[in-house]
């Protein structure tokens, strides 16, 4: 075991903020926009994606010395598709309503660039444990992003959170936030907010 196998806290937290797959790397945006009309959907999607990230990362890392370079992408895709299919059936078994709300987007995790990207850039070069921890971090970052959108969209658009009413009765819901345009606007809002925070940090750093 070389030094690079050491698992640091950073292996995990990397995906949360500094390399957040959505806000920083702008990957996997389709599900981010499509399924975040409620917080519950966002959470489920995030968990499913994390599951696939962790499992495929583990398997790819295990097999990294076995798979020849020429067929690695094909192999990764098959491995990922396998876990996505598993997630698909598991969700059906857990709740049909959830399954219907997420629609085809569970299956579309296959083409989510985050996962193939992690397999190619990280899992294929690191040990299984590290790959799992990193995958979990990335998945958590992705879930965080999904929830950022989901919470705002559900609270403003329906006046509720995880299906429970949180706004007073008189509150007028802004249905645009659960409609397609709202998804774009809320994501744009978060991007601007994070860009602004980053800039403040940079400026603050310089001033200090």
């Amino acid at each position: 075991m070389s030094k690079s196998e050491a698992i640091t806290l950073q292996t995990f937290t990397q995906g949360l903020w500094k390399e957040n797959p959505v806000f920083v790397m702008m990957l996997g945006l389709c599900p981010v926009l499509a399924v975040t009309n409620t917080a519950m959907n966002s959470l489920a999607m995030g968990v499913a994606t994390t599951f696939v990230l962790v499992c495929s990362g583990f398997l790819v890392s295990l097999l990294r010395h076995v798979i020849p370079k020429q067929v690695r992408i094909a192999s990764y895709i098959i491995i990922i598709a396998t876990f996505v299919t598993m997630a698909d059936y598991l969700i059906q078994a857990i709740s049909l309503d959830l399954y219907q709300a997420l629609g085809a987007f569970i299956q579309l995790i296959v083409v989510n660039c985050i996962i193939l990207g992690r397999a190619e850039a990280y899992a294929s070069k690191n040990g299984p444990l590290k790959a799992v921890v990193n995958g979990a971090g990335m998945g958590l970052g992705f879930t965080f992003a999904l929830l950022c959108l989901g919470v705002v969209r559900e609270v403003l658009g329906s006046g509720s959170l995880f299906g429970l009413q949180v706004m007073p009765d008189a509150f007028q819901p802004w249905s645009i936030f659960v409609l397609p345009p709202g998804a774009f606007f809320v994501l744009a809002f978060w991007l601007m907010l994070f860009a602004w925070i980053e800039e403040r940090k940079r400026k603050g750093g310089k001033a200090a």
């Binding site: 895709i77 396998t82 299919t85």
Partner: protein, 193 residues
């Protein structure tokens, strides 16, 4: 119009439930390749083309899988077959029409791992479309994707010459534009109903 008719399906994927603006499929290329009108046009063509190919493939495979009761392998087969079909098409084009390859070629490998393509295959299967319906669906989806991409590219080219405020740089600008396009496309709701 009968909702199951081919024109209705085409119109639905093209305008009413636009693949990009209402269904959120293919957002990555939509954000990434919409900087220049010319590239956007080529990308639109390439995507439409791949959509038709993969729609046909998916239709055939699904028939086979259903026949042998192997639906649970659907996803794995779809992704594998679409990827190889596009690869094959790419090689064919490269061989027979270098000009077309220059226009479409660089996009083809990118497109394969794009939700719009797989999404199309999955949706047409879930909705149990016939062959004709599937073709109408893929044409509509391709046209819808191209239209959204071209409009976006036009707007972004125009805004290249604007005095944008600091917050409006980069992805946020594109997303706000996409939101407004999506708002405008809401006008098509219920068309032909």
């Amino acid at each position: 119009m009968n909702p199951g008719s081919a024109p209705a399906i085409f119109l639905d994927a093209f305008l009413i439930n636009n693949f990009v603006l209402a269904m959120f499929l293919g957002i990555c290329p939509f954000l990434g390749v919409s900087g220049k009108v010319k590239t956007a046009g080529n990308m639109g063509m390439a995507v439409t083309f791949v959509m038709i190919v993969s729609s046909l493939c998916a239709f055939g495979i699904n028939k086979l899988l259903v026949r042998y009761d192997l639906e649970f392998l659907r996803l794995i087969c779809f992704i594998a077959v679409i990827a190889s079909a596009v690869q094959l098409v790419e090689m064919t084009i490269k061989k027979f029409s270098p000009a077309l390859f220059r226009a479409l070629g660089i996009f083809l490998p990118l497109i394969t791992t794009n939700c719009a393509i797989l999404g199309l295959a999955l949706f047409q299967t879930a909705r149990e479309y016939s062959l004709v319906q599937s073709i109408a669906f893929s044409l509509g989806a391709g046209a819808g994707f191209s239209l959204a991409l071209l409009l976006m590219a036009g707007l972004r080219e125009k805004l290249d010459l604007a005095d944008l405020p600091g917050v409006a740089r980069g992805a946020a600008l594109t997303l706000i534009l996409a939101g407004m396009l999506s708002l405008a496309f809401m006008g098509f709701a219920g068309l032909g109903g």
